[in-house]
Subunit: 273 residues, 2 copies
Amino acid sequence: MGSPESATAFAPGHVTAFFSVHRHEDPVRAGSRGAGVATSDGVTTTVTPADETTVTLNGAETVIEPVERVLDTLGVTAHVVCETTLPLGAGFGVSGAAALGTAFAADAAVEMGHSENRLVTVAHVAEVQSGTGLGDVVGQARGGLPVRLDPGAPTQGRLDGVPATGRVEYLTFGDLSTAEVIEGDVTDLSAAGARALDSLRDRPTPARLVDAGRAFAREADLLVDEVRAVLDAVPEASMAMLGRSVFAFGTALTDAGYDASVCEIDHAGARRR
Amino acid sequence: MGSPESATAFAPGHVTAFFSVHRHEDPVRAGSRGAGVATSDGVTTTVTPADETTVTLNGAETVIEPVERVLDTLGVTAHVVCETTLPLGAGFGVSGAAALGTAFAADAAVEMGHSENRLVTVAHVAEVQSGTGLGDVVGQARGGLPVRLDPGAPTQGRLDGVPATGRVEYLTFGDLSTAEVIEGDVTDLSAAGARALDSLRDRPTPARLVDAGRAFAREADLLVDEVRAVLDAVPEASMAMLGRSVFAFGTALTDAGYDASVCEIDHAGARRR
């Protein structure tokens, strides 16, 4: 990373509490409405321009389709090095964070001079086209407790936020397939997501975010057994969409005896490092 | 500050590089287009509900009209304690940061449950109605290098950002009256501001922000002698609107021998502490 032409960016993790699916033939307009939490545990991405593209995640060579799509869109080939302490495929938006980090770091490394909206849009489109997510990128770009009032890239829709600060705890039991859920029949899920968003807009507080997420998980029939057991034991915890994962604010999970990971709400969103 | 019902928020400083004035009878829609820098030197505000409102700034009792207006709008009376290392009345958005911090901290102290957009709008309207600023609040809420593509509160207009990170230096020689400039004839100023915004949108980089700001200061005839002297000596520096102040990225001012204050770009924008 000592190369003069490499650049580094950070994007927070993003836990979705609830969402509704909005398909559109234009990927800039496709996405989800919903709300979640941007976490200080995130993905740090270093981009070094090179003749051929390689991608590593925590030291192992891998393929992250949204990252490749971001590079293709920006016309860059590079060594992309992603580092994260977040669990993979477990509802923390690792692919979205890697895509965003790649966009911000590539822009800086090659001095392309794109705006933030442009870079976020490139990453959002890459995520939608890869089928790996619908709203994480937009939430990760904003930071805090992002509320996506409209679907699509930030140039398309309104965002708001739930004022909050402090500690976030999370637990994971493994992965759920995002593509399987968001490409299936989402009529009931989206109706539940719309109700959850109405409930949160009525009182945008962290406690309401959790309550709306719990109702959504139940109504959308997304609860898996391990998650259901934690939610039954901890009324302040909700499910991280779409993973076999649980999150809570403050110390609710550790107070209940769970060996939870601990981080903070990330207020800043994706940024150069 | 130890009271259980007090709450604290932080808002970054905001240096405006250039702007155009957009008057509107609805203060939610009034404001400015333009761009600037959110700084890690900002205002920390603690709100403690009380029978009568008092406001102190760095320990001295004072009147900050936008702060009083925010409390009136939210229906709160409180002791408001603002602390800042920023120079006052010198183009760093202290009144806007105090208004924003008061909104976020009052919301938390009284558990009102307003959304971020609502709180930012309340602070923006308070600043516009007080004649103390047009765009600082919106920039301070976003953080980074905010670009205000449309005037007005965040519910009204599009925002973008210039990707950047790192050090900001600034110097001040004293105050300029914001009200005198923004309430006068702003035809030429706004035309220069619109040209500067076009130039930045063409290439949204920190260097272009500085260049567009320098051209704006000259064309809008806002340069004062002390500022002109620094800008002549340091081509990487621009004027902070509206103050007898200068800012630059990196080490441009200290490299030229000036005894500049040093802080960082603040990526997070206004937030609870």
